[in-house]
């Protein structure tokens, strides 16, 4: 049995990472949201599987939270925002897709090279999980800096948080309160982002950061 537990959680973690890559090359906002939903679903499944495999019921709560917030509420809300604000649906990458993918692969390599030697004493599952979640975090950051659209920056931020949750469920004994607080802080951040998006849009008629920056009246 332990083998299956390991393989399954490894698989789910890898799916989360794969979705991070998928987020990187999306050119349309709706497909971006869809991929993000898929990532949240994979994450929620990973949490639930960990809870089942290790007999830790509080992980089910985590899974449920992730499912409701990340896979249902936030994508729907963002979807609504996009429709309501009539945002241009295409994403303008600041960095070309090919380069972004190359950078992403190097980041995954870096995190594996980094995590595996450091955690030599930990169990194989923890090590793999940490490497995967660090990769997800770094890819989320990469996404935030390689896209000009404000919505895609929000999605990048959310996927960073997914990476953190992935790390939290992988490490045995992480108390529920930590996950709860992370989840709620992301919730708050999401609300703030939402409000900001409305205001930015109202004021500047665009969510393209490049346009907005010119309003600061500063030299670039």
């Amino acid at each position: 049995m332990p083998d299956i537990a390991y393989d399954a959680s490894h698989l789910l973690g890898a799916v989360v990472l794969l979705m991070s890559f998928a987020l990187l090359y999306q050119r349309r906002l709706f497909s971006l949201l869809n991929v993000f939903t898929l990532q949240a679903l994979a994450l929620s499944a990973a949490a639930a599987w960990q809870g089942y495999a290790h007999g830790e019921p509080h992980l089910y709560v985590t899974a449920l939270l992730t499912l409701t917030l990340k896979a249902i509420v936030m994508p729907l809300a963002l979807h609504r925002i996009i429709v309501k604000l009539n945002i241009q649906r295409a994403i303008e990458p600041a960095l070309s897709i090919g380069l972004t993918m190359v950078a992403g692969v190097s980041l995954v390599t870096l995190s594996i090279l980094l995590v595996l030697p450091v955690t030599a004493e930990a169990t194989a599952l923890t090590r793999e999980n940490l490497a995967l979640s660090l990769s997800v975090v770094l890819l989320g950051l990469l996404m935030m800096i390689s896209r000009r659209n404000a919505v895609s920056q929000v999605v990048g931020f959310m996927s960073i948080e997914n990476g953190l949750i992935l790390a939290a469920v992988g490490v045995a004994g992480m108390p529920l309160v930590v996950e709860m607080s992370v989840a709620f802080s992301v919730m708050v951040a999401f609300i703030v982002f939402g409000i900001f998006l409305f205001h930015i849009r109202e004021r500047f008629d665009t969510l393209d950061m490049q346009e907005i920056e010119s309003f600061r009246g500063e030299h670039r």
Partner: protein, 675 residues
Amino acid sequence: MALVVTAIALLLLLAAAGLATARSSRAHAEALVYGGTGVVCGLAALWAVAHLAGGGGTETLVLPVGLPWLSAHLRVDSLSAFFLLVINFGGATASLFGWGYGNAHRDPGAGPVLPLFPLFLAGMNLVLIADDAFVFLVSWEFMSLASWLLVLSTHREAETPRAARVYLVMASFGTACLLLAFGLLAGAHGDYSFTAIRAHAPEAGAAAAGVLLVLVGAGSKAGVVPLHVWLPLAHPAAPSHVSALMSGVMTKVAIYAIIRVTFDLIGQPQWWWGGILLAFGALTAVMGVLYALMQDDMKRLLAYSTVENIGAIVIALGLALVFKASSVPVIAALAMSAALLHVVNHSLFKTLLFYGAGSVLAATHTRDLGRMGGLIHRMPATAFLMLIGAAAISALPPLNGFVGEWLLFQAILNAPALPQWALKIGIAVVGAALALATALAAACFVRLYGTAFLGRPRSAAAAQAHETNRAMTLGMAVPAALCVVIGVLPTPLIRLFEPATRLLVEAGPFDDRALQPWIRLAPTSAIGNSYNGLVMLVTIAILSVLLVLVIHRWASARVRRSEPWGCGFADPDPQAVSQYTASSFAQPIRRAFGSTVFAAKDHVDMPEPGDTRPARLTVTMIDPAWGWLFRPVGRAVDRAADVINRLQFLTIRRYLTLMFLALVVLLVMVAVTQR
């Protein structure tokens, strides 16, 4: 030990009292603060004398203050006790003088001096008893900031803001250097108590870097050229008794820091450290006095003269260091005694001269030598005491300045005992530079004294000057008397601080401390020379009396004839503007040295014939340290700031990119280093 800590606590209390009473009656507040500070400092100085006379043992104290896991380590040994004596004696006379000065020279624009004065003294005392790097640096910064605030207390004068700004920058720079130095000396094991630094001598590279940083950090506080630029700006800007403390006493705290690190903490020194001290000491001495000669501002002249004296002390320290490194402890003890004696001497005559400048300032409301003159008739007591100070700082026998220079030259003349050829030749050059500096110092003080006190008054204020009050005169008389006493009988003092010499270079200046006659100074038999101040005094007294008799008998009684046109000097001229001025006196030296060293330019603006405006001579010069060091550094900082300023106007995405890149670089570093 407990007494010193109590004294510091009392000083802090007095500072609080000064703050509390600042709004109430000024006279009472001054009596309380200056009286209290004077008594506390006097008692602390007496305690230091008793401690040194009792052999100068080591006492330690650990106070549970500061960061939770670190307590404050305090320690008094013979070296600290010696410097405690110097500082607290200076503090006591400054309190006495300051009390009178506050009455005589009411400056409506002056800020609060009362609470800061005891605070400044407390800071200096704390530096001396610190026994770990934390206490040392905190109290060092405490001292710097207190003195900075004191400089700012005259903030309404035009020059003060710039002086305070330059001082703040240099003080921060010095503290930063000291911080790095202690970090290097403590090494990786991270125990910053001086005991631990002494026990684990750092490796050669770290020790050398640490010593260099201390020389830069403490040297900037002491006023070593080229880091002296703040000193002639900040010292004169403060009220006169504070100027005296900053110039005569605070620079000694910096000397203490140099001695503590290079002679005590670091173990066996390298000879080239002494070489650096010698070279910069000689540069400091010559440049300081040359610049002092060019000044028309009395207090600024004194500040530059401090730079010169610091140069002499640094030369003595360098000599002690090279002799110690070359294992010639007897001569090292001689040089160290010269350094410590000069520390005492300079603290005495420099405070005396600054008090004198303060008296003149209170009487004439000017620091400009060109507006003084003839003050000897108006202020006879001040003039007499200033004469003692000027003679002492010019190293004239039988005053204390001469004894210090004599000891120093004994050490310099023994340079052939060193094995390094570079030093044998170099020290001879340094000796020549020191002799030049001493001669120029004499010229400088002839100029100061002659212009300010002799001749005819050059302004109405100088003509109407009147003698200052008793407290100020007494404040000057005490150091003046000591200048004479130490000059005539130096041996008891040198014997008093012999334990400090023994602590630092493992030898004393005398063959046998107990057998040393107190009446003449006969240091170690290795040099075979001795100095008898009493004989000198008697000889000079007899010769002077004879000379006075001869002049009165054969010269004064004669009918004298004078020129009908004395170079335009009209006797009843109330302003006496055609007198020889301070600038005229300095002109030959300005011509000889100034045009190259200071880029001095004389510009004569001569009106056309028939034009009635006066001719005007303008002299411009610049301190080379500004042109060669500080302006280029300032420009480089400006350029760097311009470049970095662009970072302030990046887009959010670029900021995120920078953070991201920094994170990735750090992760790569971890990944690379751990394998």
